[in-house]
């Protein structure tokens, strides 16, 4: 169930915007070849299609390479402090629910220093879009391991290898009650654009994990999912209502074996196809979404890309607005004089 956000739409008759309208006058300063450039380009490209006047768009970020993003968008923007973008974005949205609010964050910003805010944003379900640039490394602080770095990762701060189990951001978002959860890739411009658009159209907190290549400190971390020669073997695209198939010719499928997924080559319209897992992104129950999310942790399985979950729940700001309306109806709109004069009073002549 996708819902359009009519409140912030451009009135008909207004001039059509182009991607150039969304570029600010500031020079973009990421390392040459950084995956951030593509994400910025796809975001600027898709913005005119959303039909929202740019004065109604707000980009909020924390700290890190990705968090410079708002400076490059000719919308309202706020580059805040490390990990806290979700809190500031929640305040922006609560005070003006008509705004289209976007959080730009990274794996360190969202999952380490801002981990607490991230999970609570997901469960509150503000109508906010979160783009998490996951490069599995700390870039701005120059190359320490991040909460999504693989165990054993050798970095400046872990010369003998990191000791920690990484977060699976998709699983974390699902466990926190996120209503829209997706994964995309910096290099796949079409998929990224369509995913950003779907996130926008989802009413509620939308979370996109974007695999992003840090060319300096963690180069080619996602090569197996992005390289032309390997990606079809190593990724499976999630399409609602479609069976999970992958491979160069779509010759492989995924089916259940007990509680675990397994790859089968018997597809192509044979009766085995009936046993393939069919994706249902609108399922209220999160079992399938969780199952697919955890497939990312299994080296023998292809990596799911696409929308894991998209369900409609009431948004925090909607419920708050309703509560205020209800209170006004029940108790009358607040009269400040009556408020100050409430309770037992007495008059001194």
């Amino acid at each position: 169930m996708r819902k359009n956000k009519k409140s912030s739409r451009i009135p008909s008759g207004a001039p059509t915007l182009t991607q150039k309208d969304f570029a600010s006058d500031q020079d973009v300063r990421w390392c040459p070849g950084c995956g951030d450039y593509s994400i910025l380009a796809q975001t600027r490209r898709i913005m005119p299609e959303l039909g929202v006047p740019k004065e109604n768009i707000v980009f909020i970020s924390g700290i890190g390479c990705s968090s410079r993003f708002p400076y490059y968008m000719n919308t309202y923007g706020f580059h805040t402090i490390h990990g806290r973008a979700p809190t500031i974005a929640s305040g922006v949205k609560m005070a003006n629910p008509d705004l289209s609010v976007w959080v730009i964050t990274g794996d360190g910003d969202a999952l380490s220093i801002g981990g607490n805010h991230f999970i609570h944003l997901m469960r509150r379900n503000f109508d906010i879009n979160v783009l998490l640039f996951n490069n599995r490394i700390y870039g701005l602080t120059k190359g320490q391991y991040s909460p999504t770095s693989e165990q054993g990762k050798q970095t400046k701060s872990t010369p003998l290898g990191s000791l920690e189990t990484p977060f699976n951001p998709i699983s974390l978002a699902l466990a926190s009650g996120a209503t829209f959860v997706a994964r995309s890739l910096d290099t796949d411009s079409h998929h990224l654009q369509s995913t950003i658009k779907a996130a926008f159209e989802h009413k509620g907190t939308s979370f996109i994990e974007i695999y992003q290549d840090c060319i300096i400190f963690n180069r080619d971390a996602f090569k197996q999912y992005t390289d032309k020669s390997t990606k079809s073997e190593n990724t499976v695209h999630l399409e609602h209502g479609e069976p999970l198939v992958f491979g160069k010719e779509g010759e492989k499928g995924i089916r259940l074996n007990g509680f675990l997924p397994e790859v089968t080559t018997a597809t192509n319209g044979t009766e085995a196809e009936a046993n393939l897992i069919v994706h249902d992104q609108y399922a209220e129950n999160t079992t399938l979404a969780n199952f697919l999310a955890r497939m990312s942790d299994m080296p023998e399985m292809p990596h799911p890309i696409g929308i894991f979950r998209s369900v409609h729940h009431p948004c925090y700001e909607e419920l708050m607005t309703q509560q205020i309306a209800w209170a006004k109806q029940q108790r009358g709109p607040g009269e400040i004089d009556a408020l100050l004069n409430a309770g037992d009073t007495w008059v001194v002549p």
Partner: protein, 608 residues
């Protein structure tokens, strides 16, 4: 025997018992009634951090002290005339506060061996000579309440919970106070549990009748109404005054109030209070932590709302990075710090003024933030309103300081006229021509408040140093120094926008007592006494601590000695000495308890 009524000027009553005994409830009720009949009142609730510490233990004693008078008073009293204790522990903790020959009312039913042992008594103090200097009235509160309520059909446990109203009934009789206000409160409070309306009213009446019938007290007392400026009054606690001040500022400015908070003693009542007023459009957000609580307030401010957060010292430590963001982003933000005894978790239910230097200096870099402090419960209204005015006008975070003592204390408040209040004008930027995010108002140095949703004013702000006028990110050396200077100058200029300092007492002379915050009552009372004795002494109580009022330096120079009493180790003292090179003297107390008048008077005496 005729009831003998003695006119007295003032009295102090202390109710004490287990934290589940309802001492706070009856203390509050006695306060309400005393205020309504026209006395000036001042209260001091003193309760343990534990919700219910083990019954009968010293740690579980909860007290409520009420001072009421026919004169204007400023403190809940150093000592009390009447002490009501529900058990031996309450007696042990509080007996030193009772005046010689004071009235001690004891629930003798709770003085069995087990309770005595819990309180650390070897022998029953009601049976030895240890209490001979007091008028002791042992009353079987538990048994008598049970008897009065036996027809109600309530369980023994339910009946036992009404005994506090029996005690209140006695005190109302003792001071010739009507029961009607308390009855009205009981009816509202238990509207959904009517069985408790009857039982509590029965207990209240029984206590009253008990005094009438037994003639235990030879005399009852009457405290005439106090002289107040004309107007309409209500009784108010500091936190509630803060709540009303915030809603009023929201109303007067036309800005939606968004309050982000995380529960913490003693600030939670502001969150609870505001949450009741959704019909005023008030948004309260109980967030996942202190940081997100200030974060939503900053976000709301960016969106064009009145963003407010509230906490106590430990919470302020967590919020400091975000306050700094609001400072450099130059957004209006109101930060309430209801101080309690630190450091770290400290003593959450005890009062202190030890966060002043944290508020001044507890942020990285050069970070000037205006600081205002309320001085008594009802002053929280005006001070928080003024904090909102300054935040909006100067586009800056403002810290509002209160403390546990005034946050929970209550006193009469003359309800203000809305027309008396200064205007708060958001003056949002809407003009596109000539707009620059950091182009300033010449007089105030405030930058424009251009909220998202305004066409043509799209701009980006953030925590990186800003280029003057454009607000673009800048690492330029000269620009950085310039911006640091501008931000400091903007806050300094607020001094030109505040009223002249009120000097109470002698315009010049021997001694100036300089204070801030919740010590106001004790300082004022002590200075009044010394003025009555003929000394050239004065009292100045600062609401504006950053910036200091522009006339303060000159006032300090008019006195031979400056005494700065504080419930900390000398925070304002350091600031004043550094700013004005005045050899001021401190009086410092860091016990989690307010000053007492005698402590002030003895220090003043030593300096005269």
């Amino acid at each position: 025997m005729h009831k003998q009524v003695e006119q007295i000027q003032e009295a102090t009553v202390l109710f004490a018992g287990d934290s589940g005994d309802g001492s706070q409830t009856i203390g509050t009720q006695m306060t309400e009634t005393s205020a309504i009949v026209g006395n000036d009142v001042a209260t001091l609730p003193d309760y343990p951090a534990e919700i219910q510490a083990p019954a009968g233990s010293l740690a579980g004693v909860s007290g409520f002290q009420l001072h009421f008078s026919s004169e204007n008073i400023h403190t809940p009293g150093d000592t009390c005339d009447v002490l009501v204790v529900m058990n031996p522990a309450a007696l042990k903790v509080n007996i030193h506060k009772l005046k010689t020959n004071g009235i001690l009312i004891v629930n003798s039913d709770n003085f069995a061996r087990r309770n005595l042992r819990l309180a650390g008594y070897e022998d029953n103090p009601l049976e030895d000579d240890s209490l001979t200097k007091y008028q002791v009235f042992p009353v079987e509160l538990t048994r008598l309440t049970g008897k009065a309520l036996e027809a109600t059909g309530l369980s023994t446990r339910e009946i036992d919970r009404c005994k506090n109203f029996f005690a209140l009934g006695m005190i109302l009789w003792l001071y010739n106070r009507p029961m009607e206000y308390t009855m009205r409160w009981i009816k509202t409070k238990f509207a959904k549990k009517p069985q408790y309306i009857e039982s509590n009213i029965l207990a209240l009446r029984a206590g009253n009748t008990y005094c009438e019938a037994t003639e235990q007290f030879a005399t009852s007392y009457e405290v005439k109404p106090a002289q107040f400026a004309s107007g309409k009054y209500r009784n108010i606690e500091g936190n509630m005054a803060t709540v009303l001040g915030l809603i009023t500022a929201s109303h007067q400015s036309g800005l939606q109030l968004v309050y982000g908070s995380y529960p913490i003693t003693p600030a939670s009542d502001i969150l609870h209070g505001l949450a009741q007023y959704r019909n005023f459009g008030v948004v309260t957000m109980q967030m996942e932590d202190e940081i997100s609580a200030v974060g939503v307030a900053i976000g709301a401010a960016f969106s064009g709302a009145l963003g407010v957060t509230g906490s106590s010292g430990p919470g302020l430590a967590l919020k400091s990075e975000a306050i700094n963001l609001a400072m450099i982003a130059e957004l209006p933000l109101i930060v309430c710090n209801i101080q309690r005894a630190g450091p770290s978790t400290g003593m959450p239910t005890k009062t202190e003024q030890s966060d002043l230097l944290q508020m001044f200096y507890g942020r990285n870099g050069e970070s000037p933030v205006p600081i205002l402090a309320a001085c008594c419960p009802h002053d929280c209204f005006e001070t928080i309103y003024e904090a909102c005015r300054i935040a909006v006008k100067y586009r800056t975070p403002v810290i509002f300081l209160s403390d546990l003592y005034i946050a929970l204390g209550a006193e009469p408040w003359r309800i203000p006229n809305l027309a008396e209040l200064p205007k708060i004008e958001p003056n949002f930027q809407t003009e596109v021509g000539g707009f620059e995010p950091y182009l300033r108002d010449e007089a105030t140095l405030a930058r424009p408040w251009a909220k998202p949703g305004t066409p043509g004013l799209e701009h980006r702000i953030g925590g990186l140093e800003k280029s003057d006028i454009t607000g673009n990110v800048s690492y330029d050396a000269e620009n950085h120094e310039k911006m640091v200077g501008i931000r400091a100058e903007k806050v300094a200029r607020i001094a030109e926008d505040i009223p002249p300092t009120e000097v109470f007492g002698a315009p010049e002379g021997e001694l100036l007592v300089l204070g801030w915050g919740g010590t106001y009552g004790t300082l004022r009372t002590s200075v009044e006494h010394k003025i009555d004795e003929g000394h050239a002494i004065a009292h100045v109580h600062l609401r504006y601590i950053n910036p200091f009022p522009s006339d303060l330096g000159e006032i300090l120079n008019r006195f031979k000695t400056v005494l700065i009493p504080e419930l900390n180790s000398g925070h304002l003292l350091q600031l004043i000495r550094a700013e004005y090179l005045v050899d001021a003297v401190g009086l410092n107390k860091v016990q989690g308890q307010p000053f007492q008048v005698f402590e002030l008077e003895s220090k003043i005496k030593s300096l005269l």
